[in-house]
Subunit: 215 residues, 2 copies
DNA sequence: ACCTGAACACCGTTCAAGT
DNA sequence: ACCTGAACACCGTTCAAGT
């Protein structure tokens, strides 16, 4: 029973769920696949390359075609939702993706889909790319924090840290941050997406106003 | 010449510049401070605690008072600028901060300042906190990528990865991503900030429209 | 109180040798 | 071609013992 590249990635994602990113080691992964740690270097030149492949796998489906009849802002929301779901699908998934860059087909397809979508409604391709990446940063940052908060001792989580804070925060600040810690992360995410897309919409109106006289 | 907590943080930030986050080890830091690696555990309970203190130090000044006569949107921009500058002030600074949570006075002051600013123009405190964090995620994601790109071989950087991409990206996508890689990161950052703040502004108008009849 | 020296339990990675 | 076994050069962390 030979070990294929894809089997290694499968096993690594399983182990990621079990141990977290910090506990994911080549030796443990080898053991999970009934192989010595060093044997994995027949399939990947380094642990980093394996993590890249894991990140690629995590982004599967994010760039899948969107319903053409859907309004473009909803299509943007849908892509954001998909990306978040995929990043959260594995423990520390967001951190895994954050450590890698461009490369694989899933990543390219997803990025391409977003740039294409924004271009189709009137953004110059370059600006579409800027928007796509800015948006990606928000989603990544949000999901990294989401996954970090899950691992904090729920009782001794954010409330305790706030209580220990120096200087003592104002009551208004304290209650704002507490409310934030208690809020549903999915709702907070959707709020951020809405905010960002409102800015995108406004920018498009601006572009169209400039364009009507110029073109 | 005793070693103080602050001296360890100073040395760690120096070493961070020299070695990067991955090269920052307790043994090397000890050597830089003319001490055994293990001795550092008299000052910090763990490497993680040291990294937290480094993150705290990096955020110094971000929450400093803003000119009262400055329009609030410019104050928001100014805080974003400050945060970016601080994160970029040390090699891998953004990644250091991304690995930590709340806690210290600089962090609290900065967060408090932003929430206070947004509250003062009419956002409910809780919503102000949501906006602050969403914005923080974008800045962090952007600066992490900025610092990662600096370290990529400039010649074999993004262009080469794009050329190797599977499936081959459309010419439009390829040129969009190439233009993006060549663009001034500071300009791209300001663009993202503007986009986000346009959304914030629109949301505030919405709130005020609701409020006039309700209150 | 602060540091040394040495150890413990790990890492990622390499490589001759096996099958 | 793929894997084993063992090694190399490291890690973070602990702790008796020194000063």
């Amino acid at each position: 029973m030979v070990l294929r590249r894809a089997d290694v990635v499968d096993g690594a994602l399983e182990l990621l769920d079990a141990e977290g990113l910090d506990g994911l080691t080549m030796r443990k992964l080898g053991a999970a696949l009934n192989v010595q740690g060093g044997a994995l270097y027949r399939h990947f030149p380094s642990k980093e390359a394996l993590l890249d492949a894991m990140a690629e796998r995590l982004l599967a489906g994010v760039g899948a075609p969107l319903p053409a009849e859907m309004p473009w802002l909803d299509q943007c929301r849908e892509m954001a939702e998909r990306l978040r779901v995929q990043l959260l699908s594995r423990r520390d998934g967001a951190r895994v993706v954050a450590g890698t860059y461009v490369s694989g087909p899933n990543t390219m397809t997803a990025g391409g889909r977003a740039i294409e979508l924004l271009s189709s409604v009137g953004f110059p391709p370059e600006e579409a790319a800027w928007i796509t990446f800015a948006f990606f940063y928000f989603v990544l940052g949000h999901t990294i924090e989401e996954q970090a908060l899950v691992r904090l001792d729920p009782a001794h989580g954010w409330e305790a840290r706030l209580a220990e804070a120096q200087p003592v925060p104002s009551p208004a600040l304290a209650s704002a941050m507490l409310a934030m810690a208690k809020a549903d992360p999915a709702e907070r995410f959707r709020y951020g997406v809405r905010l960002f897309l409102a800015g995108v919409e406004r920018r498009l109106e601006e572009l169209r106003a400039d364009g009507t006289s110029g073109v």
